[in-house]
Amino acid sequence: MWGFLDCSRYFMKFGVPKIVLDNASMAVASNEKVGLLAAPGAGKSTIIRLLAGVDTPNSGEVIRDQGGWPLAYGGGFRPEMTGEDNVRMVAGFAGLDADDFCAFCAGFAELGDAFFVPLLLYTGAMRTRLAFAVSLGVPAQTYLADERLIAGDPAFQEKCQATLDDRLETAGLILVASNPRALETACERFAVLSRGKIIMCEDIDEAKSLLTFDMQHGGEEEAIEDMLASFDLA
């Protein structure tokens, strides 16, 4: 089970509080595919960081499952180390056989000999390929994704999508994004982060309309209050 229980998270930015969550609650089963729409700058990465346990809320409780894994996360890679060494490192973290994991990642990322050179020499696209290969090679119960599910050139995107579809037959997904299109194909439930609250929606169209309304009426308090009153506050 994943989610938030009366969670609040805010930052002080230039002396003004920036609220990401305001007594928000959400519950997601480990094998559910849930998409959370949030306006740009609303705190998508903070939501993922809270769910991943990297960040802690100011109040309330984050419900976390042990089988979560960040999708396409390359932040843990060391640029001084080769692609192979980085993959072996993640294999150690995930408790996987390093040789098998390396074979999978080398084949999936299709980096050729570059797999054996330091990441300092990689382009952004090569790093992305490696990050996707590493995250899709780990047998997670739930994938945590920030903004995107696939990336790269069309052929690589197709491969990512096929492998992700295969993983999501048994695994869950929590995708936090500002682009509704990212949620449409992979998610089954939808929610919107609006003014610190997480609002569960009936379908993607309802989520899109709420997000659009929220972004268009950013400063109009009463209009937003009326709009929120018609939705199910999770």
């Binding site: 346990g53 976390r64 180390m81 072996r88 490192m89 993640v90 973290f93 899709l136 047998p139």
Partner: protein, 268 residues
Amino acid sequence: MNAGWAATGEGQPRRSLGEWLIEHGEIVLALISRDLKTRFSHNLFGYSWSFVAPILWIGGTYSFFYFLGRTSPVFTDIVTFIISGLIPYVAFRYTANAMGKVNGGVRSLVIYPTVTPEHAAVAMAIIEYVNVYIVAAIIMAINYVVFGNIELDDLPLWAGGITLAWLLGAAYGYLFSVLSRRDVTIFQLGIILLRPSYFFSAVFFIPNEIRGPVLDVLGWNPLMHAVDISRDGMLFHYQSHISDALYVVVSIVLLFGAAIAARPWRSA
């Protein structure tokens, strides 16, 4: 493409103690490998500083002895005497300092659900434990080659003193690294507090020669006991009458206990 294995359920949580140890051991080994590969990657000078700094300490302490006209209080030469106190002191300081890298070092890794700062603390401590023996071997080899002196009376006792100093450094550093999760400046405070420790931890004196109220005060310093135990093991003609290994162990347990108790005190 070998994608089939990944969804077979490998990597599920393991339950027995042996499997638990293997699981966490793999994470610690991965962090050790990561640290060593990063240290050695481009800046060998940076790593060699680990060995240069103790040699400079020896030079400084030797000059101090020379200008004060002080001789070794034990039947041995001055350099060997200084080395006998400096090696366990290095074990303590290097390990305490290394704990400062725990939080920052795994900041980008704790998003992986299996990795915690505690894994990094264990990894850093293991690296420093091995490091101190490399430092000891280099310094003792230089002492032998340059001055023709080398002493190692009781290897287990010497290593035991070093181990106590190392554990003490790990416990002290870990406590301040846990506290610094609330405020990063707390760790720096912990290191600043350690600065005078060089002068009252029996690096250049022996507890046997101090008496009365001075001993009553310095006797509370567990590092002095650990250094003295290690010196007892190294020098042929020195036997410690004051050091108490149990007192050091109790201090280590108390520091680790305080760190564990402080762990819920996270950043707001």
